[in-house]
């Protein structure tokens, strides 16, 4: 509703402004070109986000100071805190980094944005930068037309910078010409009232342009030609800093709960910092003067002094917030909780799949992998219940013989109901999301995604086979015929052992251990196959079980074998990250089994 009124109103105001003032048109065109430059710059950096940026982000955010450093450096290089924010939300959404690291990056990005003000004040306003813009645009566009992704990326970056410079040029020219017709400085308001009005204007301008960077550049351009007073420019800068959080909040709407928490943290940080800056405005101005003197900045060089103010109030804000980051995380975790609707219906839903992780192929892949692990956790619950085993016993060190004895329930549980509540929806969402994510992936990544989809299918099939297996398992594991009872219980024991092994694999970070456990699981699955090892033949030949029992045992051992094979195949895809070719193959399993027989 608001958007329906807001957008046409802005368009009408702009159209009227263009009609009455060609200078206003020039300034607005400058802002539009600048914003287009930022979009192009972001597009260019995204071309390089197919691995390198993500790897750096993952490795350089394990400590708070590193997260802050990462946020600062990347924002300073890319000149876009919104791209860094979007990537951070995407990483949090995919579960690759935690909220604390995310807040660290946002704090660093806040300081990183100040480099833009320094560049503009120190370089952009003094040099005729439009002269640099033209060759950049020409080279950039030529490179954009190239097929290679990296060349395209460089092309977008050059074009982005070209448009940024051109936008600044038009803003500068526009304000200079504007001064001849209307002196905006005559509208300056002094005192606290002026401070609040201009903070409001700063917020509004940033919300409309969706970029604090553009607002600050606009402020500097106006300040450079004396169209606004220095005091009002300070207030506008504070306003721009609050307005930028609105962009983050809008960006987080499609994210998961941690993305929303991050946007809330960003909002709290910027509003608190702005409040402090307002309360200590006089002291801040004195400090800016002192620092400017120290740096040799002339007293009347208001543009550079604004850059000093921008840096000072953001650095003070970050330093003040660092000791409270953990408390802020706890506060946000208690105040912002996931919606309870899905829990009330007891239908489990996806945890990691949301539009924010579609930002890069790496986060999309990581989120799908994590969701597959979530699907397996649910399948683990269903399979243990189907085997009439307690989950806690499998996760403990309890001997497997005792695990089998300690039954979960006296009667069979409804696996179909569990399947509908905990598997079907998530599985469907993973497949649907994978199709969406695939459109932006490279050939190699699509192959990896295909394997993950297979792993999901393996999980679903294992659950379905458990449902078939359960029918006779409950019946025969209590049978008076000790032979059939023993066979069904050993089937339960073997599957319990496999579930325990997969749990160990999931917990381990040692590659050799994971490979060894998986290989062992493969050998055991073949060894326990009672059709292959001749056990079933022996039971029938010696008439130890009835024909009906034999048929059931034959079918069910097939189901048990399939459950094992599917779960091992899933674990191979999900838990082995490198050197998957080192896992032993079917022929090698037979080789090991033959060695044992010979011994």
């Amino acid at each position: 509703m608001l958007r329906r009124i807001f957008l046409p109103s802005i368009l009408i105001v702009l159209a009227y402004g263009f009609w009455i003032s060609p200078d206003f048109k020039e300034i607005s065109a400058g802002v539009a070109i600048f914003l287009f430059g930022m979009i192009s710059l972001e597009e260019g950096f995204k071309a390089f986000s197919g691995g390198t940026l993500e790897r750096i982000l993952q490795k350089s955010t394990n400590k708070l100071y590193k997260s802050i450093g990462f946020g600062f450096v990347t924002t300073a290089i890319m000149q876009s805190s919104s791209l860094v924010s979007v990537l951070t939300i995407s990483f949090i959404g995919a579960g690759l980094i935690g909220l604390t690291q995310g807040i660290g990056i946002i704090l660093g990005a806040n300081i990183g944005t100040t480099t833009g003000a320094w560049l503009m004040a120190g370089f952009g306003l003094k040099v005729k930068i439009s002269a640099y813009a033209m060759p950049m645009l020409v080279f950039g566009v030529i490179l954009i037309f190239q097929k290679a992704k990296s060349l395209k990326g460089i092309g977008y970056i050059l074009t982005g910078l070209g448009f940024l410079f051109l936008g600044i040029h038009y803003m500068k020219e526009g304000f200079e010409a504007f001064k001849n017709t209307i002196d905006l400085a005559s509208f300056a308001v002094d005192g606290f009232k002026g401070l609040m009005i201009f903070i409001g204007i700063g917020v509004l301008a940033t919300v409309v342009m969706q970029s604090s960077h553009a607002t600050i550049v606009l402020i500097l351009a106006a300040l450079a030609v004396g169209q606004i007073t220095y005091e009002n420019a300070l207030a506008l800068t504070i306003g721009a800093n609050i307005g930028t959080t609105i962009t983050a909040i809008i960006g987080s709407l499609s994210s998961n709960i941690d993305g929303k928490r991050l946007a809330a943290a960003h909002f709290i940080f910027n509003v608190v910092t702005a409040t402090i800056a307002v309360l200590l405005m006089d002291q801040m101005i004195v400090s800016v003067d002192a620092i400017s003197d120290f740096l040799g900045i002339a007293n009347d060089n208001h543009t550079l002094k604004l850059a000093v103010f921008d840096s000072l109030f953001k650095i003070i804000g970050v330093l003040m917030f660092i000791p409270f980051v953990d408390k802020l995380v706890k506060f946000l975790q208690t105040k912002l909780k996931p919606s309870a609707v899905s829990e009330a219906k007891s239908f489990d839903t996806v945890k990691y799949l949301n539009d924010s992780v579609l930002e890069t192929s790496m986060t999309a892949m990581a989120a799908i992998k994590k969701e597959t692990k979530h699907l397996y956790d649910n399948a683990f619950e269903i399979i243990t219940h189907g085997l009439n085993i307690k989950r806690s016993n499998i996760l403990s060190d309890m001997p497997l013989e005792e695990v089998v004895k300690d039954s979960y329930s006296q009667s069979a549980i409804d696996i179909d109901d569990f399947y509908h509540h905990k598997i079907k929806g998530i599985y469907g969402e993973i497949i649907d999301f994978s199709t969406k994510a695939q459109s932006q992936m490279a050939h190699e990544e699509i192959e990896e995604l295909y394997k993950i989809k297979l792993a999901n299918r393996d999980i679903v099939e294992a659950v379905k086979d458990t449902e078939h297996l359960q029918k006779n398992l409950v019946k025969y594991s209590k049978s008076t015929n000790t032979h059939i009872k023993s066979e069904y219980n050993s089937m339960r024991k073997d599957l319990a052992e496999l579930l325990r092994t997969i749990n160990l694999i999931a917990m381990s970070d040692q590659e050799d251990e994971i490979l060894l456990l998986l290989s062992k699981a493969k050998v055991h699955t073949e060894r326990y196959d009672i059709i292959a090892n001749g056990k079933l033949d022996n039971l029938i030949r010696n008439r130890l079980i009835s024909n009906e029992m034999a048929t059931s045992l034959m079918n069910d051992s097939g189901y048990a074998y399939n459950i094992s094979a599917n779960l091992i195949a899933m674990a191979e895809i999900i838990y082995v990250t490198d050197n998957s070719e080192m896992i032993i193959e079917e022929e090698e399993v037979k080789e090991i089994l033959n060695q044992k027989d010979e011994q």
Partner: protein, 98 residues
Amino acid sequence: MSVKKFITDVKNYLGLDDFKKSGKKKSIKRLLEKLKARKEILDKTPRKNLNKKELKALKEEQAIITLQIKKGEKILDELNAESHKDSKKLKGEKNGKK
């Protein structure tokens, strides 16, 4: 010179493909070291104190690790042979140009 050829030349000059291969080699070497250390521990385990079940598990683990070491060494040999071939090819091309 086409863009594709330019990128290939830059990749060759900077040895970017080799970088990928050497990363893989390092990873296999590291894994082999770990597997060999694990095998050494298993080989040194005194068998007298083990019961039948434990002895069976130990032998099984030894057999698996031995097989994995063999597999790893084969992969490493193949990678070494490939990079040897690549460097020979590159040298040949350079000499040809001269």
